[in-house]
Amino acid sequence: MRLLIVPVLVPFLTVIVLALLTGRAAAQKTVALASAAGLTVFVFWLLRYVDQHGIQTMVIGGWTAPWGIAFVADRLACIMLCLSMGVGTVVTLYTFWTVEARQQEYFFYPLFQVLLLGVNWCFVTGDLFNLFVGYEVMLIGSYGVMMVGATKAQVRETTRYLAINSIGSTFFVVGCGLVYTTVGTLNLADLAARTAALGPEQAALVTAVSMLLLVVFALKAGAFPLFSWLPDSYPVVPAGVSGYVAGLLTKVGVYSLLRVFVLVFRQPGHELALQVILVLSGFTMLLGVLGAMCQWDVRRILSWHVISQVGYMVMGIGLAANASIATAAVAGTIFYVMHHIVVKSSLFLIGGIAERVSGTQELKRMGGVLDLAPGVAALFLVSAMSLAGMPPFSGFLSKLVLLRAGLGGGHYVVVAVSLVTSFLTLYSMAKIWTYVFWGRAARATPAAPYRALMVPTAGLVAATIVLGFAAEPFLRLANDAADEITRPDAYVAAVLGERRP
């Protein structure tokens, strides 16, 4: 299906058009929003199409897979594309009011589209080396949007982010080279078929190489022990853009872990990597939430929670080591990713509004937002309860699915850790609620106009309510997507066709 190029091509062309419109903020806003909204409609249609007609593939330049570069859209890729473009559209709208006029005139919107381009590229590609190319495009875009404004803090933190990511990218290329040497292909479907048939000696080599890729993806996902860059760099991202960055970028790492460690590496003994992931996941959630408890800045608290939530998603991937619960656990991860992207993005957007209302980022000086802006308080309450896993919102169901899988496989320790983490998350959200929304307001009126910002934010909050109350179709979708990647026969057949080894 040739239309698979669209999620990459549209942002690419939009970048060029926006760059030509430099200096004309109104035109740039219109083009950026129209492009993002149009692409959102397209990816939702694609999800529906793939759900009904099975996996779609496309090879570029007439070289058939596994030699040519393949684009593959299975359910998982389509779900991620929908989340990326949905949040991307909301954030584009939100930045109309939060990014300074001077930055809007110049390169803010082109850079944000570069970010969308890279993220979509990662989701739609069916080739390990192309995944690296997508990562690089995404990183260049993220350096750009993190630097918008170029304050001292932004420059300092972006430099760190940039240094640690350049190391990660190098490891990724090395990993690609070593996978190619040991297995002889980089196409994901071909890799899945070939690794399953490896002898014990080759399999051990591939397991060793997979550990290198585990480091790369864990770094990107912000998993223990490679998360130290995250809580420093996310708070400096401009409000609004941080919604997209916090929602999507670490989830690209989680997606890569799912794609590569569940679908691709199937050599005898591949469970070792998954067991390592399971141990890391426990530490990730607990240390993330403990880090959040001792912070006194809204965005820092939320950034630490990104880490602890990544722990839950990675836990589902780790549970896949146990073949009897693999599909249920991976389905839990996929549903958790859907829930988390929506809720985390909306919390960052609400945090941005609360800062505008109270005029400060410091938790102890905010106070009284409930009186100044009751609507914002309502939005926060729903998102925070959802994040902590209270019924009836999506957070409760996503945790329930994961915990049931964990208990079914007898992994009691990690289940206990995740329950403790959930309680501590509630404490942390209650802290934000007490200091930001209760208390006496330090000012009589909101510090800056905020009402327009509530429209895009409310859209995301509505999505978490829908994911909670009408979960049936989404759970079914997550289950089917998990089935596709834990039993890769259909994926391999769709990509390689007659040329299966």
Binding site: F129, K152, R156, T170, V174, Y180
Partner: protein, 110 residues
């Protein structure tokens, strides 16, 4: 041959790590360059090499000698292009930081 290359690649990664861990931005950029060159050399070794291998052009007749695998050089080319782009971005960035703040040590920006 492989042993020599492995030693060279290892030495270059060590040097690159040392450079990236420095505080100055320009060292980080150069360290990144060192890293990407080390990676490209590693990929050449991964692709394998033997003097009797032919260029991978297949005519009507089946080739008499083994052919060179074209994919590793292909990957290296792409990796060079990407590291070139990222390197250019990093250099521009560090120059802009220097113009704005008069320092190339990000830790001084507090």
């Amino acid at each position: 041959m492989e042993f020599v290359m492995a030693a060279v690649v290892g030495a270059m990664f060590a040097a690159g790590t040392y450079m990236i861990l420095r505080r100055s931005l320009i060292w980080i950029v150069m360290g990144f360059g060192m890293y990407s060159n080390a990676t490209n050399l590693l990929l050449i070794v991964c692709g394998g090499y033997a003097p009797q291998w032919q260029a991978p052009f297949v005519g009507a007749a089946a080739p008499a000698t083994p052919l060179m695998d074209p994919l590793p050089p292909d990957i290296i080319l792409t990796a060079i292009v990407i590291s070139f782009a990222v390197g250019a971005l990093l250099l521009t960035l560090s120059y802009c930081v220097y113009l704005d703040y008069g320092t190339d040590d990000p830790e001084e920006l507090v």
